[in-house]
């Protein structure tokens, strides 16, 4: 399915005239690789007899859900998302000591922010919390 969609997209690429073509058209190489993936996938479908993996535990589902939550919250502020995700993850994984939760929720994101902002001169995207620093 993925290969079919990707192949269709590759047929939409501009083509260059033969005089400007440097050996191959832009769509040739991706189509070659997609063809290889399709052939190998068919081989796997026929020959691969490995058992299906065990069901994912609820903790894994929770972690995946938290990742989605992180993506949404980081639209408001990257570090708000990081702090909330880290705190929620540590609690979802069974940590109950409030000092440990505070460490990953507050101390680490703040430390990482100032480390990258001041030492590595990285400018983070503006948001609810980062605006407090950037003004």
């Amino acid at each position: 399915m993925f290969c079919a969609i990707a192949y269709w997209f590759s047929t939409q690429f501009d083509r260059v005239p033969p005089i400007l073509k440097r050996g191959i058209q832009p769509s040739d190489f991706p189509q070659l690789i997609l063809g290889l993936i399709v052939i190998l996938s068919l081989v796997l479908m026929i020959r691969d007899k490995s058992p299906a993996p065990e069901r994912m535990t609820s903790v894994v589902w929770t972690t995946l859900g938290l990742l989605v939550g992180f993506i949404l919250v980081s639209e408001i502020d990257l570090f708000l998302g990081l702090g909330l995700f880290a705190g929620a993850l540590t609690m979802a994984w069974g940590e109950r000591r409030w000092l440990a939760v505070l460490l990953v929720t507050l101390a680490v994101p703040i430390m990482v922010f100032f480390l990258f902002d001041t030492v590595f001169e990285v400018r983070f995207p503006r948001g609810l919390l980062t605006n407090l620093w950037y003004g």
């Binding site: 990707a6 997209f9 590759s10 690429f13 501009d14 260059v16 400007l20 073509k21 440097r22 050996g23 191959i24 058209q25 832009p26 769509s27 190489f29 991706p30 690789i33 997609l34 290889l36 993936i37 190998l40 996938s41 081989v43 796997l44 020959r47 691969d48 490995s50 993996p53 535990t57 903790v59 894994v60 929770t62 972690t63 995946l64 990742l67 993506i71 980081s74 990257l78 990081l82 995700f85 880290a86 705190g87 993850l89 540590t90 994984w93 069974g94 940590e95 440990a100 460490l103 990953v104 680490v108 994101p109 990482v112 990258f116 590595f120 001169e121 990285v122 400018r123 983070f124 995207p125």
Partner: protein, 499 residues
């Protein structure tokens, strides 16, 4: 000779030395923490090195590589959990020794054999890499194309998963490398009008995703695992009698490890397994293996550390990564504007030798850190993963953002992490994906150049001896094990029936 001296002088800077020592300590920490390994450590450090000069940046990455490979032995011996997969065989004899109250002796042997193995491999690297580069200096695009195909074909044998799945994963990585503007024709491909995608999918966010974030999801499944540390009195170096017993094993495993490391894509894990097996095969007391044999520890540790130097030979001389971690270092070299390949030893020879010397230094450094700091690092292994992994996630995300200062890279890291997690669940290794992404661009460019050179008659590649040689190697790498397996089955009917 001048380059060797200049390389050494380039390292004689207080700041660079401090950074190398810090990276070595960080590498030991990364290697000692279960779940983290050299590849993840190097991928996480990569964004921190972007603003540095190339020599300290790459020296730090290689320091993490060497030190983390050694440090896997600490957890293998003390908590029966290999810090890195390359130390899995060290558990077999290290932990039984630790249970007998001889953890110190086991760690001492691991430190000595790792250091000797590491130093031997770096010496081989210094000699072999320029020679290999000289041999490859006259390669034309078809030879490079065939060599890159061979490097990718070696991905089939990575890990213990299905070779077909490994090749699918590698091909997917190569496919991802086609996103962005085509370098040969300047036509946009799979960019969907997203400006940030015109330069392609970045190596760093994908590396952070597939090695770091996917591991976070794997760890979510391992919360029930309890780690219990064996009490360690003190670390003592092996006695003269111990050395007498193991010196041949150390030398043999160092040779094996260096050779395995030089093979494209094969890394420390394969080296340690073969090193351990050969140590057992040649031992006068094979019955002690698995019950606390010092030869077992020496065989495994000398091999996995010597693979680090070996893996850097094709990485620097040909631009083909010798191991998964070397692939991330290769990405680091490219990000810093360096061109790994034969020209590195003519145009950037001082830099190459500075890296060699720094690797030599790291091998000596982790000997002392291993001996005197193992007790401290052993405690670090008991950090609850409930605290460790949220911290790793924070660094991963900020690291993914920092390089291009783009939120798109954060989404790519998370997407790669989730894809990587499901790939691992269904038995697909993520290492070929990462290497495929790095080599994909190179592969396409060289194919295009070859087509121009051969007047679009691709079949003429087979008329070039070296190109044909690499294609034959590729065929053997892909189908050799299956053919060999069929032949072996036919000749040993008793074995195939299980008798």
């Amino acid at each position: 000779m001048d380059a060797a001296l200049n390389g050494l002088l380039a390292l004689a800077d207080f700041n660079i030395l401090v950074l190398i020592v810090a990276a070595t300590l960080g590498g030991v920490l990364v290697g000692a923490l279960p779940g983290l390994n050299a590849t993840t450590g190097v991928a996480l450090l990569l964004p921190f090195t972007i603003t540095m000069d190339p020599i300290p940046a790459i020296a730090m990455l290689t320091a993490i590589y060497c030190a983390a490979t050694f440090a896997g032995a600490i957890t293998a011996i003390l908590i029966n959990t290999p810090g890195t997969s390359a130390s899995a065989t060290t558990c077999l004899d290290g932990y039984p020794l630790a249970q007998r109250g001889e953890a110190g002796k086991a760690l001492g042997m691991a430190a000595v054999s790792s250091t000797i193995g590491g130093i031997i491999s770096v010496v081989c690297l210094m000699a072999a890499a320029p020679l290999m580069a000289r041999a490859a200096y006259n390669f034309a695009p078809p030879e490079y194309f065939a060599l890159t195909v061979f490097g990718l074909s070696m991905l089939a044998t990575i890990g213990d998963g299905s070779p077909v799945k490994n090749v699918v994963s590698g091909a997917f990585g190569v496919f991802l490398s086609t996103v962005g503007v085509d370098l040969l024709t300047s036509i946009e491909r799979f960019t969907f009008d997203v400006r940030e995608l015109t330069e392609g999918i970045g190596f760093v966010p994908v590396m952070i995703g597939v090695f770091g974030i996917s591991e976070l999801l794997v760890q979510a499944d391992n919360l029930h695992v309890k780690r219990k540390q064996v009490i360690m009195k003190s670390i003592r170096l092996p006695s003269r009698a111990d050395y007498k017993k193991v010196w041949r094993t150390i030398l043999r495993s160092s040779g094996i490890g260096t050779f395995i490391g030089i093979l494209p894509a094969e890394g420390a894990t394969v080296a340690s397994m073969i090193g351990y097996n050969e140590a057992k095969r040649w031992s006068k007391t094979p019955e002690e293996f698995g019950k606390g044999s010092l030869e077992g520890i020496a065989g495994s540790e000398a091999a996995n550390n010597s693979a680090t130097g070996g893996a850097m030979v094709p990485t620097l001389a040909l631009g083909i990564p010798g191991s998964p971690t070397a692939a991330v270092i290769l990405a680091g070299l490219m990000i810093h504007g360096l061109r790994p390949g034969p020209t590195m030893f003519t145009e950037q020879a001082d830099f190459a030798f500075a890296i060699f010397w720094s690797m030599l230094l790291v091998n000596v450094l982790f000997f002392f850190i291993g001996l005197y700091g193992a007790k401290v690092f052993a405690r670090v292994t008991l950090i609850p993963i409930q605290i460790l992994w949220p911290i790793v996630f924070t660094f991963s995300i900020v690291g993914a953002y920092a390089l291009e200062q783009s939120m798109l890279d954060v989404w790519i890291a998370i997407g790669s992490g989730i894809i990587g997690f499901f790939m691992r669940r269904y038995g697909f290794s993520v290492v070929p994906l990462a290497i495929g992404l790095i080599l994909g661009g190179m592969l396409e460019t060289r194919l295009g150049q070859s087509m121009v050179m051969l007047d679009e008659k691709w079949w003429l590649m087979a008329t070039r001896p070296l190109t044909l040689f690499f294609f034959v190697l590729t065929f053997l790498a892909l189908f050799g094990p299956a053919i060999w397996g069929q032949l072996f089955k036919q000749r040993s009917p008793l074995e195939s029936t299980g008798e």
